[in-house]
Symmetry: C2
Subunit: 302 residues, 2 copies
């Protein structure tokens, strides 16, 4: 089953303590769509300017992502983000943002895509996420990602969105910020009370926890890595692989969600091994499966 992915598409300049790279492919939709593409067909909705490099577009094609919903604004410039990571890569500073064509972005679904069943609302303004929802007709499972910026600046829209989606994915500090709860378990339950039946709280190197609609609970560790080159987009990859795996299996039971969390964990762990989407550019399903086997061994209690 196809996954519809909407979100930002960006050109990123990224600086870590050891390296610096410019004009990288970035944005929540780019990461989400490529990650989802390992599990089945993907439809990408987003906007870029005329300056969007051919090589980035080719990555979408190589991953067989349908770009019919990718709007190219003639004469426009692509959204740009520039950030710097501290030695502790959980801390990053945004150095600059230029919204460019993203400023007036109004997501429009091609007519044939309105029947999409699995929807990933990547991290963009909740008002835009809501606009997408108005256009889909019979969704089976809607996943929304968000970030601290929207919790601070657009909370009413976000709260409206939460009543209309099946799953919210956010990180631990965002879960605390959204609910005012210092304890993550209480924060997860408090988010469910806002109207969204399922919640995933991502904890970076500490893994992720899944709160199910019927009070179920699942907790997993991350895949252990000795080196992290670029954490940008790891959360978007998690969401993309999660939604892709769910669309592939069609299993919306708690066991199905649990398995999709493991796929999110795996693809995110590959993504941080190189800058931007470069690791995912060469990644194969066989590599994901092999690392999945290793992760199961690491988590095994037998």
């Amino acid at each position: 089953m196809s996954v519809l992915v909407v979100g930002s598409i960006a050109l990123d300049d990224i600086k870590t303590q050891t390296a610096e790279q410019k004009n990288l492919l970035g944005g929540s939709a780019s990461y989400g769509a490529v990650a989802a593409s390992f599990y089945g067909p993907v439809r990408l909705v987003g906007v870029v300017g005329e300056d969007f490099p051919k090589e980035h577009r080719e990555l979408f094609l190589k991953r067989q992502i349908d770009t019919e919903g990718l709007e190219i604004v003639s004469g426009g410039k692509t959204f740009r983000w520039s950030g710097e990571y501290e030695e502790n890569m959980n801390n990053r500073r945004t150095l600059s943002i230029a919204l460019n064509v993203f400023e007036k972005f109004q997501p429009k679904l091609p007519a044939a895509w309105k029947q999409s069943e699995y929807i990933l609302l990547g991290n963009i303004a909740p008002s835009l996420q809501l606009q997408v929802l108005k256009q889909v007709e019979k969704p089976k499972f809607i996943v929304a990602d968000t970030m601290d910026l929207w919790i601070n600046l657009a909370k009413p829209d976000l709260l409206e969105l939460l009543k209309k989606v099946d799953m919210l994915i956010l990180n631990d500090s965002e879960a605390k910020l959204l609910t005012g709860e210092g304890n993550l378990i209480r924060a997860g339950h408090a988010i469910q009370k806002l109207g969204v039946p399922n919640v995933i709280v991502k904890k970076g190197e500490h893994g992720a926890i899944l709160f199910g609609a019927k009070g179920e609970f699942f907790s997993t560790s991350a895949f252990p890595l000795e080196e992290i080159y670029d954490p940008t987009g790891a959360g978007d990859c998690f969401a993309g692989a999660f939604t892709g795996a769910l669309a592939q299996s069609g299993d919306l039971s708690f066991a199905g969600l649990r398995k999709a969390v493991i796929q999110g964990t795996l693809v995110a762990s590959f993504n941080v091994e190189q800058f931007s989407l470069r690791r995912l550019e060469t990644l194969t399903c066989e590599e994901i499966a092999a690392r999945g086997k290793k992760l199961l061994e690491i988590l095994s209690l037998a």
Copy 2:
């Protein structure tokens, strides 16, 4: 098989954001011994003053802990610690310390205890932990706990100790401090290179990771709790239950260590539910088993 537990025995005054309690039973050996006692016989080595309350001593007896190695200094006062937790309970401040009889403590093993096979060197000065090791004759498995204080003040002793024990247990910030590594996986491996074959890095609410002597790796989440009343001694309980479970099973394979980590996780999760050792005072093996079943469900990938 008996577990020999050595460490501090203290009277704690503890303040959290919601409550304050005085003259509580505390100290690494108290927590470690009581936690280990759910898995088999325990021998306690420590020192207290004449002021040590009868009710605290009765808890040791109730848990059938052999106190032949518990020295009572006549006219002496028991070691006292006072601390305060911030709202984020990972942060605590020591308000005062009075070493009292602990200042001149020289652990002495009763003759019959020199044959002890399973040894927990609870968190005390590494020089005292080394003194205990000199007195044991044919240990099968030695677990050492430590803390940032000793890494900062007694690193040479600690490094000597690491060459003589089978397992070091420490928390994530201590693992980074000891090795200078910012990444926990690299930190764990770096500690193994210091001479200790097995390492457990505790991550509080995020669980624990186990590094095995042959390069094996195990990672588990903690048991999810909505409320934490008093985190004091959780790490000591983890170490006590871990060593106790190991002595009970006698299984020193990696699978055996893994199972013991789960027991450490469980008993630590109970301990934080009330002040001091009060939850463990009423805890039963049936309750541990029931929570163990729940934890396995939460971690289950099937």
